[in-house]
Subunit: 270 residues, 4 copies
């Protein structure tokens, strides 16, 4: 496509690790639609990933930032505004990390110190980003912030472990801060609840392959891909969705409102 | 704007009564975005309204159809496909009518014959439209159907009367038929739950003015206008939202997830 | 058990067809808890069923009533109040019938005349019952009305067909009328969304056995039985739940908030 | 009342500060219904409160425990089981504390260190309690755990500040742990979402009086009292609700499903 939907808009994209990342696809897509981009990720992720390839493709600077560090975030916004010569129009928050999952700890035997870090990185980081922007008045009127989430915030998917709780917290921060930012400056904040996606991060989840097949069978349109998600994010960053805020938007091929599908019933009869 | 988001797409718009109608604004907007349009409404509405003005503006034929009459709907789709020289890409269902409200009957004293007509016109009409298209295979792959609804389907707004029940039924039909149409032909079906809007239809609701002010005060971004709604519908008709189906999407400036707002609390203290 | 939870209370139970009915179990349980009962069902169901056995067990008169007939309902309430020597404290609405399912018609090829009857019998009947009571002032202050529903009102279960829409309508009537009856006389109205249950009615659903196994595997506590449901209804009729109204209460062993369970994932891998 | 609903059951009640506490009322009510009780609270709260008066009334030992300290929780369960001579049947979690609110910090200017403590005390404490019981196998089969929450977890009430996020997290923990505990030992875990209540804790919220009046006007049955809530908790601890788990149950006089009420509309017109 490429319809200049984001012509002249300026955005910060968090979380593009490699080509499989939703954030990566979203950066490409936003660029195609006429946006200027700043890319950011945790310093450690920058070292591991291949972000320079993306940076070149979308002509974006890469600015490292630890989302649990307010000074890093301040610097990120300062440098971004300097780069853009003005305020920010959109932000993609695609950040999540579970220490307990990495360490193979079951939900019922979590380490509470790890959990605190998981909540900080995966959920409260959205508050930190918004609050940094708020304090600096960095987001333009009618700006749009999207955070990626997962339906485990509403229903239990056992292997999703503590990330379910982190996503529930993230969605609550979205509503709470969204209220204030709408009143103050007509900035909207939403989450997109995406199908399970074979990203490098997603693949870390135990039993992920079996699960992604289940979701595929349960979704009348099939699972949404990263590319689909990038397209959807573009509409949310555009001026076509100005009055949508404080929402959790399912982008999942119909999974969320399907109780059971015929293919799953057939599989159960085996 | 006008970004050719719907370039080459063909759509049927139900329910454009006059300039204040959401359907009217949506027709204009879709045309701006490159779509070809067929306009339709009930024969009686065609006589009352000023639809020819719109028809001229968007270069669309007007085809009358009573949505409770399967022959009318069949004829509508046949003539539309003939006009377009092919299948339909999108449909807007903006249809609602409450006989009990018109007759001033309170919810607790409704006439059940009227109610049956209200449900047929306002909700089952979506089933009739989809089923007509289904039988004729009239909607193209990845087509998109949007029906307008209201949050009274989730929570009670006393003056909204039996229309609350009709909208709940409409949203259920959206999910049920959406499931089957996604499986069969990747057609998606969604509802948009719009802020109260000062249309000619909306104004008929008792206590509407007091209520629209309440909604304005409760929505951090204010009430969404018809123009805003038209823009949002464009994104749902476009290829940017292909994996969204069976959803009820609030387009309401944040009303739906605001429990109470500061302006309302202040008003309560008076 | 039997703790006199409903001591002195008077209730009308709709829909006890045979021993497998939830309404049958609920009548027994309410009687055990000290309530006086009137049993009612459609005249045709009275002929088919074995209700006299139940009537004897709970010392209740049986009064036939077609729930789509206002005269029948008026007579039912009049005779019940005469029998009780006073007003009604609780009502169980366990009524549902799909003509399209009986005739084997798929959701996408429904007969609209049948559908209208399905909605009238399965959903608007609750309005008719409440409105009859309202007009006669037949329900005592703090009375409690419960209607049985199913999660297909929220998510699609394809074989549930048009009953999904009927249940969505039923739940909306519950909220709408519940609002007015709470204001007028502190009467509460709720739905209970029960696990799939092997009743004579439930068994009519195509693919029911496969589905009931799926629900069993997806519910961390397993499917709730009719007896469990009867117990839960007792709490809702009792004075312990006076401030609960306009709610849809899931009684399903955790099914509603389970996205996927380990047993289902295992089955998917076969 | 007092119907021996909890005859022979043994429960731990967290959070009874003074006579206005919901936990206080619930302890009294459970005792009336035949239960044996252990009372617990944070050491500092024990010093401030009048818990000994309650302890005498319900013949319960008082065992101090800091809910963020696993050793304290272990000791609490050990001593409770010793006191009861066996396992636990029910637990009430009525715990919440916001450091940012105490310090008068607006949501957009929160201290993240305080926030971390708020989440730990108000939400993750439920995980800690359940996990302690899980590790010690301290809760009997079909045991019941209830945590008190508030509708700010679903919609924004601006003055509720970071507690909204804490309650969203609490409700997610309820679902997540509830899944596992149901599978392991048929223990159910639910939250009760109560009307705003004039407790000593509740009164700390800014603008609480104005808000409680709004809730009263918006709830068709009025606000639910602490006594009402205690009654409702009894049903959830009893064997009448065995198949209810992983739910958030609104106990609020209908507030949650009322979009607007006539009294509020009238007030808006002033």
């Amino acid at each position: 496509m490429g319809n200049n939907l984001l012509r002249g808009k300026k955005g910060i994209i968090f979380g593009a690790l490699d080509e499989k990342s939703i954030a990566w696809k979203t950066a490409l897509k936003c660029y195609d639609e006429g946006a200027s981009i700043v890319l950011t990720n945790a310093p450690v992720a920058l070292r591991m990933g291949e972000i320079n390839k993306l940076a070149e493709a979308v002509k974006a600077p890469v600015i490292g930032a630890d989302v649990t560090n307010m000074d890093d975030l301040k610097k990120l916004f300062e440098e971004s505004m300097k780069h853009f010569g003005g305020g920010i129009d959109f932000v993609l928050h695609s950040i999540g990390m579970s220490l307990n999952m990495r360490k193979g700890k079951h939900y019922t035997e979590m380490d509470y110190g790890f959990n605190q870090k998981t909540l900080d990185i995966s959920a409260m980081s959205l508050h930190r980003v918004l609050r940094t922007a708020w304090d600096m008045d960095a987001i333009n009127e009618w700006g749009s912030v999207v955070a990626l989430t997962y339906i485990a915030a509403q229903r239990v998917f056992p292997d999703y472990n503590e990330m379910a709780d982190a996503k529930a917290l993230l969605e609550s921060v979205t509503r709470s801060f969204g209220y204030h930012y709408a009143l103050k400056k007509k900035v909207r904040v939403n989450t997109v609840s995406q199908s399970p996606t074979r990203t490098t991060a997603g693949s870390g989840v135990k039993g992920f392959d079996g699960f992604i097949d289940y979701a595929e069978k349960m979704s009348p349109l099939g699972n949404a891909s990263s590319d689909d998600c990038a397209n959807y994010c573009v509409t949310l960053f555009s001026d076509y969705s100005r009055m949508v805020t404080m929402q959790n938007l399912f982008h999942d091929g119909g999974f969320s409102f399907t109780g059971v599908s015929e293919p799953v019933v057939k599989q159960m009869e085996k």
